[in-house]
């Protein structure tokens, strides 16, 4: 019974994401399903532009939840990611309340008594009022749950990774002055990484590890179909076939899905009905982002178009 339920739920995830314009492979859908069921974050790795960030957006849109995004960069620290005290507000309040202070302490005869009375007021200035929640804390405080996207975690420092561990495994953070804040509803956490540096084992262990590579030809065609509906079927097949040929070259940066979509839009704008050498050479700069890459690919264009057209006939 459970098996039946599982496979239908995975299909439900797939169609749910598809409704948001995100065509997921079976593996991605399984990962999303599992992360909901066993409440674990997903660590998504893969080359730039294959839809890692899009996945988080699609999940948020599909489940009607708010998406909170934390962009990582070198030097990102607690104060910018988790919480910060509103120092200015604290300072302002102490200034305003200065006069009141005399009244409060009025009855006290000795210094000790005054101190005790002050203690009674407790940590007024270190209460929730004065905490400025940053993305991580915000995510925990959403009553309806949310999708927390921690983008490009590999760009942050190793220390920041350790900061994340508590949130990722228990969905809680500890603020020394306030105690532990637990999530009202555990958020769906997506971490993305471009593998710029190796992440720590402790972090990896807490996540489901999903690798999104370049999609297969059929899948990529479906993606283009959903994102650029105006494109004709023949052109779609040809261009995706052409891009798959380009990816077999040894280039500095291979074109990924986002470039495919951009190119499809460009071709539609130029009202191309099918690929020819002229138009490909003119628009190659949409696909390839380095001069050296364009130079390497240009002599191959005609052969690749022919190959793409041939595979089109058989496919």
């Amino acid at each position: 019974m459970a098996d039946q339920k599982a496979s239908t739920s995975i299909e439900a995830v797939e169609s749910g994401l598809a409704a948001q314009g995100y065509i997921a492979s079976r593996q991605i859908a399984t990962a999303v399903y599992l992360s909901q069921q066993i409440e674990k974050p997903i660590l998504v790795e893969g080359p730039a532009g294959v839809g890692k960030t899009e996945l988080a957006k699609a999940i948020a849109a599909w489940r009607g939840m708010k998406m909170i995004r934390l962009q990582c960069y070198e030097g990102l620290d607690e104060a910018k990611a988790l919480y910060e005290w509103k120092y200015a507000k604290q300072l302002l309040y102490t200034q305003i309340l200065k006069d009141k202070l005399g009244e409060v302490l009025g009855g006290a005869q000795t210094l000790h008594a005054a101190l005790d009375q002050l203690h009674d007021f407790g940590d007024v200035f270190f209460s929730k009022e004065f905490v400025e929640p940053r993305p991580l804390l915000q995510a925990l405080e959403q009553p309806g749950g949310c999708v927390l996207l921690i983008d490009e975690i590999d760009k942050s420092d190793a220390e920041f990774e350790s900061l994340l561990l508590e949130i990722l495994s228990d969905f809680q953070v500890t603020i020394p002055e306030l105690g532990t804040v637990s999530a009202i509803t555990p958020p769906t956490v997506i971490l993305t990484s471009n593998s710029e540096r190796d992440l720590g084992d402790a972090l990896k262990r807490r996540c489901l590890h999903l690798h999104i590579g370049f999609p297969e030809q059929r899948l990529e065609e479906r993606i283009v179909e959903s994102r650029v509906p105006g494109i004709s079927q023949t052109l779609r097949r040809q261009m995706v076939g052409f891009i798959h040929e380009i990816r077999s070259l040894d280039l500095k940066k291979l074109p990924s899905v986002s470039e495919t979509i951009d190119w499809a839009r460009v071709l539609v704008l130029l009202q191309a009905s099918e690929l020819d050498t002229e138009i490909v050479k003119d628009t190659l700069n949409v696909l390839l982002k380095y001069e050296a890459d364009i130079e390497a690919a240009t002599p191959q264009v005609t052969t690749f178009i022919a190959k793409a057209a041939r595979s089109n006939v058989f496919g």
Binding site: A2, D3, S7, Y33, H211
Partner: protein
């Protein structure tokens, strides 16, 4: 199923995937969610929870395919009757098949369970029996290929071979044709068990065998390893490089409490009118290693130089600046060749340019002083790798002295043992006076220690 998953985790460890207890718990939970009926989904779920990198995913995927491919007993029966039976058995669903077989199988009455199973040609039941018997014989403990025989016989014993033999003896007397069929089936069974054991060996013994091989390889002299081991050695060197990278790639930020950084403190507290709520302290920056490597590529030392250059050039994250030079009779810079080409191509190109000559340390040092002396800074560590055998030519130790004066450290790595230093045409003692460190470096392990020490001085 839980038993099977545990065995799979062991196999996964054998395939080089780190599966910690916490990960196995996660995998169990995931499998409980997705169920086991859909193999593709199960595979995805295990890959998601257990593998933590793309390499691990590939290894684990192969391991999964191997693990869940059950070798099945062969169906080739020489007799026509047997073939009929087999065809029948295949057409029907397994449970119904065995039931009907038992019903019509009059002659098999009075036989042991194994004999009945074999005669009824129920492949699923046989496969299940083999699986449970290999569990009883703890097949997952198999380590070496020489153990195959003993595990096969253990599994067959656990399946009830003894009883089958008695049955065979009895049948030969009463029903020779049935005995013949049974004997053929037994041969097929033996084959299936042998396949199971081979598969078990491939799954479970890999880890142990690999550790043993790596241990031997680490301590083998680099200059004398065989051609077929070169690829393995390269892989080992890459492993060493990864380990060194992980250890040294993070620049240690040492905060020196005590010295206030006034400028940064003021800027940080600008929002509060310069009242210093947050203090900033001066930090001491550590240099990243700068390395200049001079490698002898003549005859006996070439192989060691090859591995040394491979190691140094795979330490990008740790070592910012490496310039490599190769020499035998004269010296050239090889940094660019090593950066742009694959290790094999680079080495053959270097060898064609300067290799195979008789080594002349003196003139190579002259070449270096003439052209590349400016590469040395007070932060540079100079590493010379060579046996210091200069064919009785002028060693020009004075140049080495000047190199040592201009650089932070001068390290000499010599593939020869200490005993040989100074004998024959070895100039090692003369050079050694100008070196900060001289050490023997003949095996992968010594190479790792030497490079690790050099990098550690910069931390």
């Amino acid at each position: 199923m839980r038993e099977n998953l545990h065995r799979f985790f062991r196999a996964a460890r054998g395939a080089g995937v780190h599966v910690s207890p916490a990960e196995s718990i996660d995998a169990m939970r995931a499998v409980a969610q997705v169920g086991i009926s859909d193999r593709a989904v199960l595979r995805d779920a295990l890959l998601l929870t257990l593998a933590k990198s793309q390499d691990e995913k590939l290894a684990l995927g192969d391991c999964f395919d191997l693990f869940f491919s059950q070798p099945e007993p062969r169906q080739d029966q020489p007799e026509a009757a047997g073939e009929d039976h087999a065809a029948q058995g295949e057409d029907q669903p397994p449970s119904a098949g065995s039931a009907s077989e038992a019903g019509e199988g009059q002659p098999s009455q009075g036989l042991g369970p194994l004999a009945q199973m074999l005669l009824s040609q129920d492949r699923n039941a046989i496969a299940a029996a083999i699986a449970s018997a290999s569990g009883a014989a703890s097949l997952s403990d198999i380590r070496y290929s020489t153990q195959r025989g003993i595990f096969s016989s253990r599994i067959l014993d656990a399946m009830g071979l003894q009883r089958l033999r008695d049955d065979l003896d009895q049948l030969t007397a009463t029903n020779p044709s049935l005995a013949e069929r049974l004997r053929a089936a037994l041969d097929a069974l033996r084959e299936a068990v042998r396949d199971t054991v081979s598969q078990g060996l491939a799954l479970y013994a890999r880890e142990e065998a690999e550790n043993l091989r790596n241990e031997i390889l680490r301590n083998a002299p680099l200059a004398r390893i065989e051609r077929r081991q070169v690829a393995e050695m390269r892989a080992l060197i890459r492993q060493i490089a990864r380990r060194l990278r992980e250890r040294y790639s993070k620049p240690r930020k040492r905060q020196r409490r005590g010295h206030l950084d006034v400028r940064r403190t003021l800027r940080r507290n600008a929002a509060w009118g310069g009242v210093p709520f947050l203090t900033a302290w001066k930090r001491k920056h550590r240099d990243r290693p700068k390395i200049v490597a001079l490698c002898d590529v003549s005859g006996s030392v070439a192989q060691v130089s090859d591995f040394f250059l491979l190691l140094i050039h795979s330490l990008h994250e740790v070592v910012d600046d490496v310039r490599s030079f190769a020499f035998s009779s004269h010296l050239i810079e090889v940094s660019e060749i090593l950066e742009t080409k694959s290790p094999e191509e680079a080495m053959s190109e270097i060898m064609s340019k300067v290799g195979f000559g008789s080594s002349d340390y003196g003139s190579s040092l002259v070449d270096f002083e003439k052209e590349f002396m400016s590469a040395l800074t007070p932060q540079t560590t100079v590493i010379v790798l060579g046996d210091a055998r200069s064919n009785n030519l002028d060693p020009r130790a004075d140049i080495l002295r000047r190199i040592s004066e201009r650089s932070k450290r001068l390290v000499w790595l010599n593939p020869e043992g200490r005993l040989a230093w100074g004998f024959g045409d070895s100039e090692m003692p003369r050079y050694a006076t100008f070196c900060s460190v001289v050490r023997q470096c003949a095996t992968a392990q010594q190479l790792e220690r030497a490079v690790s020490d050099i990098v550690a001085t910069y931390q």
